[in-house]
């Protein structure tokens, strides 16, 4: 009995907390992806690079003497116009063509290629380390958790809640959902659809940037950091159901717990194939993912 409690306390609990803190960050990424897909029907292949851009902006701002806490606000705000311009200049150009699914995917993929190489050019190919803004660990029931991870979990939960409220409980959110549901009808009822599209895309990019800032102190910052992370985010989005916010949150938590706990038993190398296997199984059972599209909850 004593051994079991020890195992829970010292082996499982830390892993669960690790899983939750990574899960929250993955959910922030997945939220952006899923909202953009739910509204615009666009798979943003460059999402990982925007996440990396957020991290690099934070690194540069810190080097310029800006405090980390200010970065948490400044970086997402800086990302918004970037997302807006990308949507206007790239996505809108091919939006009315027949195979826009593939075209927008290709465009964002090309953008990702350019961005990744640009990071290498500007910041160099090496890994940049970042000071942890909150040091120390908290003592919770005799278990020690790094303060920063607890902070990431808390702020992530707040952002997820705020996103939910904005989309489901505000007038702007109603416009977004209306535009996702029926573009023509929303437009004829006075919703500025084109602007809603750009703003939503910008919002998703902002979330990716925020995830980049939050995770930069935990992982380090390097040019291909987005590629490594985007697969997790895509897995979460696909399992949860493209366009579903609830799905992204639930799938994000569950999958990251699976990964965290599985890595106690199998080599961490194999946890990614495991998650991928889960995704394939879910797709075979429910090709549209666990939950429906944006607007249906």
């Amino acid at each position: 009995m004593h051994g079991l409690i020890d195992a829970l306390q010292f082996i499982f609990a830390p892993q669960i907390v690790n899983g939750l803190s990574i899960g929250v960050a993955v959910i922030l990424m997945a939220l952006g992806l899923t909202i953009i897909f739910g509204l615009l029907d666009v798979i943003n292949m460059a999402h990982g690079e925007f996440y990396a851009l957020g991290a690099y902006l934070a690194v540069s701002l810190l080097a310029a003497g800006v405090s980390f806490w200010l970065c948490l606000i400044i970086v997402p705000v800086l990302m918004l116009p970037v997302g807006y311009v990308v949507e206007r200049l790239l996505i809108q150009r091919v939006f009315d063509r027949r195979d826009r699914h593939v075209l927008t995917l290709l465009l964002t993929f090309g953008l990702g290629v350019v961005l990744e190489d640009a990071f290498r050019l500007i910041f160099g190919p090496n890994t940049v380390r970042m000071e942890t803004p909150i040091g120390g660990a908290a003592d919770v029931f005799g278990m020690y958790f790094p303060n920063y991870r607890l902070f990431v979990m808390a702020i992530g939960a707040v952002i997820i809640a705020v996103t939910w409220v904005v989309i489901f409980r505000t007038r702007i959110g109603a416009m977004v959902r209306a535009a996702a549901h029926d573009r023509q009808m929303a437009s004829s009822l006075g919703v500025p659809v084109a602007r809603v599209y750009s703003a939503t895309f910008a919002f998703g990019i902002g979330l990716a940037g925020l995830a980049g800032v939050l995770l930069a102190p935990i992982y380090s910052v390097f040019p291909t950091m987005g590629k490594d992370f985007i697969l997790l985010a895509f897995t979460v989005v696909i399992v949860g159901g493209m366009g579903s916010i609830k799905g992204a949150v639930i799938a994000g938590i569950v999958l990251m717990q699976v990964q965290a706990l599985a890595s106690l038993y199998i080599s961490p190398v194999w946890t990614e194939p495991l998650l991928f296997g889960v995704m394939v199984l879910v797709l075979m059972w429910r090709p549209q993912g666990l939950f429906g599209k944006l607007g249906n909850g």
């Binding site: 790239l90 465009l107 350019v114 050019l121 194999w270 990614e272 194939p273 797709l283």
Partner: protein, 343 residues
């Protein structure tokens, strides 16, 4: 029903023109390849021979992407999986079993068909962007596993693959000879091209085109969509793997980078720039991209910025690609010539 007859005749006519113009591009490609070989051999060159051979090999990979994307409308973001698989299998056979070209190719074909079938069962159930993401994920996962498997050389890959002699009945080709191996790869990749072009014109190939046009409608006409998609996927996997199998013969090593997303992504870029849905376009595209990389590479290591930007512009302003852009004038000229012959 006279109208239906007229429509069929018109469709036949336009298909004929299309086929002839594409064959024209293919023949021109061979002629250009031979011209290049003549000039390069006269100059006693090795570097450009090797570079051109690499362009052919990656052209084969792009060809496989076009079989899926251009004909069936399935965007594969993980074709490097099969390319790398072919390269690794070929390397292992040549190094550890027997330095025989035909054995390496046979084993590659068998393994790729099997792997392609498994991957097809997983991925072709999904459509559109889901398919793209699943292929992306599959390749990414396999690349990670190979990268971490010591018996496959992990991050170092496999080095020291022997130079081999390819036994063609009438004569032998030594892979150490840059010129001979280039000519062999030209013949090999063009054979893959003509095979794909032929298969695209068979009834099954027409079903592929029908799936691209309207996937929901095809089953009502009585065609097994799922089966045909699996076949197309396996064909693409084989083409990619056979092209990949040439890689260790050219470079003498394989590394996990061959499985990375950069390779898959490059193949997609190549297809779009060369001309999607033309099959020959990807080969022209590959020559262009590999050449461009080499030229830019002599100034800066950041060729991806240039190529990525070029790609984005191509998608927006030039979606028909190189061959797609020059095809209509050629078709018109061929049609005019036929009309003149008839008159």
């Amino acid at each position: 029903m006279a109208d239906a007859g007229a429509v069929i005749a018109a469709v036949r006519h336009s298909e004929h023109a299309r086929h002839h113009s594409l064959t024209g591009f293919a023949l021109a490609f061979i002629v250009l390849g031979l011209l290049f070989a003549a000039v390069a051999a006269w100059r006693g060159d090795v570097f450009f021979f090797r570079l051109a051979t690499e362009a052919l090999i990656f052209g084969g990979l792009a060809l496989s992407v076009d079989v899926l994307l251009g004909y069936t409308g399935m965007l594969s973001l993980g074709q490097a999986l099969f390319f790398g698989l072919g390269a690794y299998v070929s390397a292992l056979v040549l190094k550890n079993v027997l330095p025989s070209f035909w054995l390496a190719m046979a084993v590659t074909l068998a393994v790729a068909t099997l792997a392609g079938f498994v991957a097809a069962v997983i991925s072709t159930r999904a459509r559109g962007v889901y398919f793209a993401l699943i292929t992306f994920g599959l390749a990414q996962v396999v690349a990670k596993v190979v990268f971490n498997t010591p018996s496959l050389g992990a991050s170092d890959g496999i080095i020291g693959i022997p130079v081999i002699t390819i036994d063609l009945v009438a004569f032998d080709v030594d892979t150490a000879s840059a010129a001979a191996f280039f000519l062999f790869c030209l013949a090999f990749v063009m054979a893959l091209y003509f095979l794909c072009a032929y298969l695209a014109r068979t009834p099954a190939g027409r079903v592929l085109a029908a799936i691209r046009s309207n996937e929901d409608r095809v089953p009502f006409l009585g065609y097994p969509v799922g089966l045909v998609k699996v076949l197309a996927f396996v064909l693409a996997a084989d083409v990619a793997a056979l092209s990949g199998a040439l890689y260790p013969m050219l470079r003498g090593f394989v590394s996990p980078e061959l499985l990375y997303f950069e390779v898959s992504g490059n193949a997609v870029i190549t297809v779009i720039i060369g001309g999607m849905g033309t099959l020959i376009g990807p080969l022209y595209g590959s020559v262009l991209i590999v050449g461009l990389k080499s030229v830019i590479g002599s100034y800066t290591t950041h060729h991806l910025i240039v190529i990525g930007t070029l790609f984005v512009f191509a998608v927006i302003f030039f979606p028909q690609g190189l061959v797609g852009y020059f095809k209509p004038p050629l078709e018109r000229r061929l049609a005019a010539r036929r009309a003149a012959v008839r008159a």
